[in-house]
């Protein structure tokens, strides 16, 4: 039995989902779109699958989230829908409920946050409201796990009896007349589509393009429909969309008039307004946000995350050395030994040591998200990102990109629209991640010892500038359509629930582990094989004879116009794909130098100008495999990820080319 969970964002949907299913969850995407689909089995019930649909405000046909939800309700036909409604903000939340009633699926309303309503001295007459709406309503408090058992029982009953919303006439007057007239006209075409009659007629009145194209009405029928609608518009002195929105809100106002008793703003809202006097303050708002992010970064990358990571990598090193010793004692074949120790253990191990950092980062991020602060960040920073066609919401993932692209890309899940999510994913790798720092440090020490900070700042700013340019390019090509409007709720601040934070961290850790043991595992073995064998598949002792070096020599001519056409740098760039730090260690191996001696040796292969060009290329070219794996998952396919990677390498090539050629004109090389 499939039960769908549907509700507005910030209505406590995730909390309820976690209460009902526990940690037994499966996260994926809806096919073909990067919209999250979470499923879980309801606790204590046999065979009841709960599908968490995207948090939306309306079933309008515009965003990917809304379309996915509509399709799910109409095509997958869940046995029942649990519609979670925030009782402290009931009017706006019931708007979606009304649209669900139009669809005609069996619905149970879970009236959430009833504890807050009571604490405010407000009251909701659930019986009366249920009668007015023609729907079963169960009052609950998801955070306190009150009423959840009753909700499950009610849902089971509704699903078994296929208890659809009672045929209350939602519409009045002019809209009513139009809906009924049109229901008759489309009767014939309706059969083929399998859409509920009432729903289709309402959508035709609304002018919904998806429904209209499904119905495929004849020309004469379309003319009659248009006449009916324009009569309605004239009589109401408004247009079709406003007429329906107005009608729904009127219906809600009537249904709530006697059932809902409210004395002014809730305590939660009053508290939020006071908190916002500080957090979104005209002068202090932005500095406070920067301090918060700085603190999160500091704690993640310098204190907690680093401490855990260091411990974790000590453990990995220990395991690796134990395996190393064990295999030596057993006298295992040298190639297999090398594969296991140098390929698998070192490759996967170096990526695994990121895990604690990522989990720590998501600990802080889920607190910021669940508390409601992220919406304020979007409010405060929106103006900055608008120029490249994004909204303030994308600011946080990009900022995290300076630490590590992997969690940054994973963090785009919180963005409200598929378009913004995709675009942010494509822009995040332009924020120079912390693993590239050793490369910058080595080259600065070798070629620009007096201007190291300047080079560093130049690279970071250069990355951001390229990101902005790339964003502008995307905005005017791939993402040309209208951006999703920035009309965003600022939810009341709430204490995040420990359960939600823990489940969120676990989800991200699992996601990362799956990546580490699939794509990164394979990539490590491939890189190891290329590094260890020559063209006749003999193990090599000198790195310069390996297949990898051969590939490096083969692709080196591509980099001649950039000034660093030597095979050593191209080989280093390839190993950099497993992790960016590997660029430095590969350079050291191939030049037979200690890493600490590299600055002295590199002069033989680079001039200051070609070094700058090389740094520009490393800054911008495709991110490491872990990040590519994250991009693939979030973009929903290797095809998109591959296209994104090729585009990024292209951008890097062009930028490095410009640096080298313009530099040559200036210094006269």
């Amino acid at each position: 039995m499939i039960i769908a969970l549907l509700g507005n964002p910030n209505s406590g949907k995730t909390t309820l989902f976690n209460q009902l299913t526990g940690s037994n969850q499966h996260v994926g995407n809806f096919p073909g779109v990067t919209v999250e689909k979470k499923e879980g089995m309801i606790k204590g019930q046999k065979n009841m699958t709960l599908v968490d649909l995207p948090g939306i405000y309306s079933l309008s046909p515009y965003t990917a989230e809304e379309v996915v939800t509509r399709d799910f309700l109409l095509k997958d036909k869940p046995e029942a829908v649990i519609n979670i409604v925030d009782a402290t903000n009931i009017e706006r939340n019931l708007y979606l409920t009304l649209q669900l009633m139009e669809v005609g699926v069996p619905v149970v309303v879970a009236l959430n946050m009833m504890d807050e309503v009571r604490a405010n001295g407000d009251s909701i007459d659930v019986q009366m409201l249920s009668g007015n709406l023609g729907l079963p309503i169960v009052p609950i408090s998801a955070a306190k796990n009150e009423g959840c058992a009753e909700l499950v029982l009610k849902t089971l009953e509704v699903a078994r009896e296929k208890d659809r919303p009672r045929g209350l006439d939602l519409c009045q007057g002019e809209v009513h007349r139009a809906v009924h007239a049109i229901a008759h006209i489309i009767e014939k075409e309706l059969k083929a589509t399998g859409l509920p009659s009432r729903y289709a007629a309402t959508k035709v009145v609304e002018g919904d393009p998806i429904t209209l194209s499904k119905l495929n009405l004849s020309k004469s029928e379309m003319e009659i429909v248009e006449t009916i609608v324009s009569d309605m518009e004239r009589n109401l002195d408004t247009d079709r969309e406003a007429a329906l929105a107005d009608m729904r809100y009127d219906f809600i106002a009537n249904a709530c008039k006697d059932a809902v008793k409210k004395n002014g703003n809730s305590r939660e809202l009053q508290r939020s307004i006071r908190i916002d006097e500080v957090l979104t303050h005209k002068v202090f708002g932005i500095p406070i946000f920067l301090c918060v992010m700085l603190l999160v970064f500091f704690l993640t990358f310098n204190v907690i995350g680093k401490f855990l990571s260091d411990g974790f990598s000590m453990g990995i090193d220990w395991v690796t050395s134990m395996i190393d010793v064990g295999l030596s004692n057993l006298g295992i074949n040298e190639a297999v030994h090398s594969l296991i120790v140098e390929g698998v253990c070192v490759g996967v191990g170096s990526v695994l040591s990121f895990l604690p950092t990522i989990v720590t980062l998501f600990f802080f991020l889920s607190i910021l998200e669940d508390s409601g602060y992220m919406a304020r960040v979007a409010f405060v920073m929106d103006k900055l990102l608008r120029k490249i066609g994004l909204s303030g919401r994308s600011f946080v993932p990009m900022l995290i990109g300076f630490g590590c692209s992997v969690p940054a890309i994973m963090a785009t899940r919180t963005l409200a629209s598929q378009r913004d999510r995709r675009m942010t994913i494509l822009l995040t790798p332009f924020m120079s991640c912390s693993a590239k720092l050793p490369i910058y440090a080595t080259f600065s020490a070798a070629f620009f010892p007096d201007h190291a900070p300047l080079v560093l700042i130049g690279l970071y700013v250069g990355g951001m500038v390229m990101g902005v340019l790339y964003g502008l390019l995307l905005k005017s090509t791939l993402f040309r359509g209208n951006p999703v409007p920035f009309v965003m709720e600022l939810p009341a601040y709430r204490l995040p629930s420990a359960k939600s934070v823990v489940i969120h961290m676990w989800e991200k850790a699992k996601d990362f582990l799956v990546k580490a043991f699939t794509i990164i595992f394979v990539a490590s073995i491939v890189i190891w094989a290329l590094q260890s064998f020559d063209a006749r598949l003999m193990m090599v002792s000198d790195g310069g004879d390996s297949l990898l070096a051969a590939i490096g020599r083969f692709i080196a001519p591509i980099f001649v116009p950039l000034g660093f056409g030597n095979w050593i740098s191209s080989t280093a760039l390839i190993t950099g794909l497993s992790a960016k730090e590997a660029v430095v260690s590969t350079l050291a191996v191939l030049t037979n130098a200690e890493v600490s001696m590299l600055p002295q040796v590199l002069g033989a292969y680079f001039t200051p100008l070609t070094a700058l060009s090389f740094l520009t290329f490393t800054l911008l070219y495709m991110p490491c495999f872990a990040a590519v794996a994250a991009i693939k998952r979030e973009l929903g396919g290797m095809k998109y990820a591959a296209a994104a990677m090729i585009a990024q390498c292209g951008v890097a090539w062009i930028a490095a080319f410009a640096v080298y050629q313009i530099g040559r004109l200036i210094v006269g090389g």
Binding site: Y57, S58, S60, Y62, T63, T88, N89, E91, R92, Y95, T238, E241, A242, A245, D246, Y249, K262, N265, S266, L269, S272, I273, D276, T280, H281, K282, V283, G285, I286, A375, A378, F379, V380, D382, K383, L384, R386, N482, V484, P485, F486, V487, M488, E489, L490, P491, A492
Partner: protein, 76 residues
Amino acid sequence: MTLNKLSPGAYGKIVAVGGEGALRRRLLDMGLTPRTRVMVRKVAPMGDPIELHLRGYELTIRLEDAQKIEITEERA
């Protein structure tokens, strides 16, 4: 007048919602329908967007979108 002209703390009643497509639909869906009372809570630090109070909750929209909403100012 239009909603973007309303100063922080002032109330207005919506007369008509302009614009088109996804934006207009979103404004209507979020409850910015004719005859709704709105209050401008504050302006973001960089001067845009603005925070509104309506139907018992807080909503933020950009000034260029607020410009498409026709209102009459009301006394609090």
